[in-house]
Amino acid sequence: MSDLMDYDEVMERFDPALGLEVHVELNTATKMFCGCDNTPGGEPNTKTCPVCLGLPGSLPVVNGKAVESAIRIGLALNCQVASWCRFARKNYFYPDMTKNFQTSQYDEPICFDGHVNIDVDGETYRIDIERVHMEEDAGKLTHAGVTGRIHGADYSLVDYNRAGTPLMEIVTRPILGLGERTPVVARAYMAHLRELMVALGVSDARMEAGNMRCDANVSLAPKGAHVLGTRSETKNVNSLKAVEGALRHEIRRQGALLAAGERVIQETRHWHEEGWTSPGRSKEEAEDYRYFPEPDLVPVAAGASWVEQLRATLPEPPAQRRARLQAAWGFADLEMRDVTGTPGSIDLIEATVTAGASAASARKWWLGELARRANERGIELAEVGVSAAQVAGVQRLVDAGTINDKLARAVFDGLLAGEGTPDEIVAARGLAVVSDDGALGAAVDAAIAAHPDVAQKIRDGKVQAAGALIGAIMKQMRGKADAARVRQLILEKLS
């Protein structure tokens, strides 16, 4: 492992420059240039055709939806949209690409010259976007052999299901002047992009699934020198934590090299989850992709009216929407942070409120009981199998006093088991709270008789001892007693 300089010392001596290239896989139904199913995964090589296998004589045709997504992404990043642009072939030899070229864009990206503002701890940072271009993803390699890693692999196995998945590359201009906050701002930018992609509905943007990944470029220059140093590019970083970690590591590694009078080699590097990077391919002279215009695809010409139609489909910016909903729901910052930290919950809570529940109760169910169930099964909250309307229905029963929160959990069991509406489940499972004084009164009398010592304490004025009796009654009635009424009855009988 490389020598590292103390982070604070690097910051005293050097200015970092940051550049981020983010790849986003679109969630279109089909691939970029062919009609193969674009849903991720599946058995190997079940989603291929002559086009995405690059067989001779096959002809690609552009997925119009993917172009729309690209333009919408560009607009959401405040970019210009090219009125005319072409695809280009990026030539290289590697088994993840059968054609020996990647269909991409080169000097004519579909979107360019944008910017986003990123908020970090109350400070706003402007990130300039150089370009957004369209390309295709490559196949998936599995390195077989002795070590399972690429070095020492005997051979590679290739699955082309992912080959041809629409891929958007979002490239920043060099970002200067962030100083010690460079890694944190990079992380916040990634989080911003992820949230934006989800809001646009153009990508699942799950970094852990590789839907969104980042090539993080960083270089150091002597403090105040206003020049750009030699950069390293850490490839395919696929979590927010890793983006921050990889940049911190590279800054410390480069700082140590420069301080020792050595030079930084311009190269790609690989991030290791244990917290370090290792060298990949040296980029000096190696990069010559011999781009040329793709002859099999005609240019894309985004006319002004089409662009304006797409602009009209842009969602409310996520940060603005968050602020609006927080105010409408009356959530404290801390409560809202939980919502923001649970993917999908803001939409579910909003829909539940629309369906008639209070914001507080919607939040309680989605971030409590239902988040717990989603976590247990390792799935997204939206996939938990209960709809916003059903949650609102359950809460309506709680508000009406028909069930309590504990019984509501059993209603969710019933909903997940497909037993019908919340009302039907309460009836079928006999979950309604008993508030009939006859039944409750008998239970209270029995409890007083069974716990004479507790009853005496209550008679002596220790009202809080009633909790023990309520607990016993709830247990006996399997949670179905109306706790508030039980308490009243106990106090009436013992006063």
Partner: protein, 98 residues
Amino acid sequence: MALTTADVARLADLARIELSAEELERFAPELDIVLAAVASVSEVAGSDVTPMSHALALTNVFRDDVVRPSLTPAQALAMAPAVEDDRFRAPRILTEEG
């Protein structure tokens, strides 16, 4: 513009074509003639001729985002020189990134 044998060697390397020293010597002047022939086109094309990269004056040829049947794995792998676990088996890769 004269292509050197070093230029040709670099291009051959990028294209993964192995050329002998004799071939490099022979191809450099031959490719020069090809380039000169292409260059003569730009002499003919005046400023009134728009440069074009495509034979058709079409734009925005798009496909609807509708799934069409794929090949079966057996069909996809039929012409592969080597197959393992329904995947294409490729030679080991030493020098490039993963």
